[in-house]
């Protein structure tokens, strides 16, 4: 099932249906049986995965699933109860610190310090330093150089935090829910930026609870729930495995009677029912007698949101 131990490099199908290069044979990062127990809680319960060099690996899950704890253990900022993290085959240590770039979910920056000074300070902490101008260009920060950290908008702040994560030209980048709280435009811009970074050859480990984001950006995803990985593969392969066909969606309110004899899923909170089918025409014919109004029917490709619901029984944003 899991294609993560990539001795044989699979072809990854990305969300945009283009075929990407086969994964690198080199494993950039490997997490081995990571456990984190708090009194009475198993926040991370034996998580293992490997990330081949050069891909964007997505860790998905609802709030409280253990994504951030897992990632922070890998980053070395939270101690694990047990388990180990290998960076290019060695226990993550000072080389990892020099070469990894990290963007946390919530990071306060110093007050009264400007964007320029913040970038300069973090840049000085590393032996390998990104070109200052290139960093500004890439994160569109040139016009904000002399602005106090406190006076940045949400999107500007996210761009600065990304710049801080890139000050050492990282080989491996961690992004923990980087687009949470951004408006749709800012999210799209952020995606472009990440595509650009990946094109530069860096490996990315992204956590998110936005399915569309994972579908667009990730070559491989692991879905984590209650501290465990419950599915892992490329987004396309996961969907293919789970769904044979398309999804027909219609409002519950448009049903005239119950759908006996037709396999379906009721999504009460969304007020809809879903029918998965390989033959749309046949299914529509079967549904028609039970539906008062056909105008509201939608036919679509299954997406990761559906997958997640089916796998965990609850919504990603629960």
């Amino acid at each position: 099932m899991n294609s993560c131990n990539c001795c044989v490099a699979p072809l990854a199908l990305a969300g945009d249906d283009t075929i990407r290069y086969p994964y690198s044979m080199t494993i950039a990062l490997e997490a081995r049986n990571i456990l984190k127990h708090y009194p009475g809680v198993r926040a991370v319960d034996g998580v293992s995965f490997s990330v081949p060099e050069g891909i964007c690996f997505g860790l998905l899950g609802p709030n409280g699933a253990g994504k951030t704890t897992t990632v922070e253990i890998i980053e070395g900022v939270t101690p694990a109860t047990s388990g180990e993290v290998l960076y290019y085959g060695e226990i993550a240590g000072s080389k990892f610190r020099q070469e990894a770039g990290i963007q946390f979910q919530n990071t306060a920056l110093q007050d009264f310090i400007t964007v320029r000074e913040t970038i300069e300070m973090f840049r000085t902490l590393y032996d390998r330093q990104a070109d200052f101008d290139e960093l500004l260009e890439r994160c569109s920060l040139r016009d904000l150089l002399d602005r106090d950290n406190r006076k940045l908008s949400g999107g500007q702040r996210q761009r600065l935090l990304l710049a801080v994560a890139l000050v050492n030209r990282p080989r491996l980048i961690f992004l923990d829910e980087p687009t949470t709280g951004l408006d749709p435009q800012a999210r799209r811009n952020f995606w472009d930026l990440l595509q650009d970074i990946r094109a530069g050859g860096s490996t990315i480990l992204l956590t998110t609870h936005y399915m569309d984001e994972a579908e667009v950006l990730c070559d491989e995803i692991a879905i984590i729930d209650a501290g465990k990985i419950i599915a892992q593969d490329s987004p396309a392969a996961l969907l293919q495995k789970q769904y044979d066909g398309l999804i027909i969606e219609l409002p519950i309110s448009d049903l005239t009677n119950n759908l006996s004899g037709i396999e379906h899923t009721v999504l009460d909170n969304l007020g809809i029912i879903e029918v998965v089918t390989t033959d749309v025409a046949e299914s529509l014919k079967a549904l028609t007698p039970h539906v008062s109004n056909l105008n509201q029917i939608k036919i679509r490709q299954p997406n990761l949101e559906d997958l997640f619901l089916d796998l965990t029984g609850h919504s990603l944003r629960a």
Partner: protein
């Protein structure tokens, strides 16, 4: 992990800018001590309002049965076993009279002091049967004003607040808002981080103290008997000891409220018992011994003896040594228990 000066400097510089640009805190750091010195020195310019008499004896407890004079009301009797120290106090008008009973009774007064005049009368009154036996000696010297005495106290207190809160509180804030975690994810080591915090606060507090000292010295013409180099050394070692203490408090705490409480728990006894506002001479021995565990006590005692009595580096060496030992102990504890993360 190797120590990189470049990294220490980067954190040092950013912390300095953060502090210097926070105008509200900066002006508070400058205005409060100056206002205190001027306000208090004018309010208390009339000097002490009670009489203090030194009793030369080896025992620290004063037995009133020795002589009827020791039963006189409204006089505070303080035992001295070192005649040089006591005579210096007479010269500075800090003691109104020094007396020795026993086989060859003797007393010393400063003819310039008005209080000495009254205390002498009280002594001679009580001395009726032996009035001709007791020997009198005069010691001359200019009075130490309260402002002279207060200046080192206020500078020390300001240094204490600045070091404890400016380092302790800030580190806790950094930890709480995740900035420490962000730094943790870089090659910066905890030693480098701590070194940068100590260096930044030390430079800032020395600049602020110099500014306050210079201003007060020129306006109030405060006394400076000793060497500026020795005083500077006391300030440097003293600041390091207080910053280290702040680091111990903040090494693990994750809540600003708790940090504030802990810092106040240290601040207040230290402010009260280290002799910022009033001298501990005459206080019970236990209180004075207890006070010697505070860095501020050593800072103030040595700074005052340099400024008021012209003590040399050799004279204040024991205090400096005590401060250095405290700094080493605090830094060792702080570095050992320091945590980057919030939990």
């Amino acid at each position: 992990m190797t120590v990189k000066l470049r990294r220490i400097y980067a954190i040092f510089k950013a912390r300095n800018l953060e502090f210097l640009r926070d105008r509200a805190s900066l002006s508070w750091n400058l205005i409060l001590p100056v206002a205190l010195i001027f306000g208090l020195s004018f309010t208390f310019s009339n000097d002490r309002d009670s009489y203090t008499v030194g009793v030369l004896q080896s025992d620290t407890k004063i037995e009133t049965a020795v002589h009827p004079f020791l039963e006189t009301h409204y006089i505070n009797f303080v035992a001295y076993d070192d005649i040089d120290i006591a005579m210096q106090k007479i010269a500075r008008h800090q003691l109104d009279l020094l007396v020795k009973f026993g086989d060859t009774p003797k007393y010393w007064i400063n003819p310039e002091s008005s209080k000495a005049y009254f205390v002498e009368i009280a002594l001679l009154q009580s001395e009726l049967p032996t009035v001709n036996i007791i020997e009198k000696q005069q010691i001359e010297g200019v009075s130490v004003r309260y402002a002279d005495w207060l200046l080192p106290g206020i500078l020390g207190m300001n240094m204490m607040f600045s070091c404890l809160f400016g380092v302790g509180y800030v580190v806790v804030r950094y930890r709480k808002n995740g900035f420490l975690k962000r730094l943790r994810a870089t090659p910066l080591t905890s030693f480098e981080f701590i070194a940068a915090q100590v260096a930044s606060r030390m430079v800032l507090i020395l600049l602020i103290s110099t500014f306050i000292y210079t201003g007060t010295h020129f306006i109030l013409d405060t006394r400076m008997e000793g060497s500026y180099f020795t005083l500077f050394l006391i300030a440097v070692v003293g600041a390091i000891s207080l910053i280290s203490l702040g680091l111990v408090v903040s090494a693990r705490v994750t809540s600003e409220e708790l940090a504030g409480g802990l810092l106040n728990l240290i601040n207040w006894p230290m402010m009260m018992l280290s002799g910022v506002w009033f001298t501990l001479e005459g206080a019970p021995e236990t209180v004075r011994t207890a006070a010697s565990i505070f860095p501020l006590t050593h800072i103030l005692n040595s700074a005052r003896s340099v400024m008021l009595d012209g003590a040399t580096l050799g004279d204040v060496a024991p205090s400096l040594l005590a401060l250095i030992v405290m700094s080493i102990v605090f830094l060792a504890i702080g570095a050992r228990i320091f945590r980057w993360e919030q939990y």
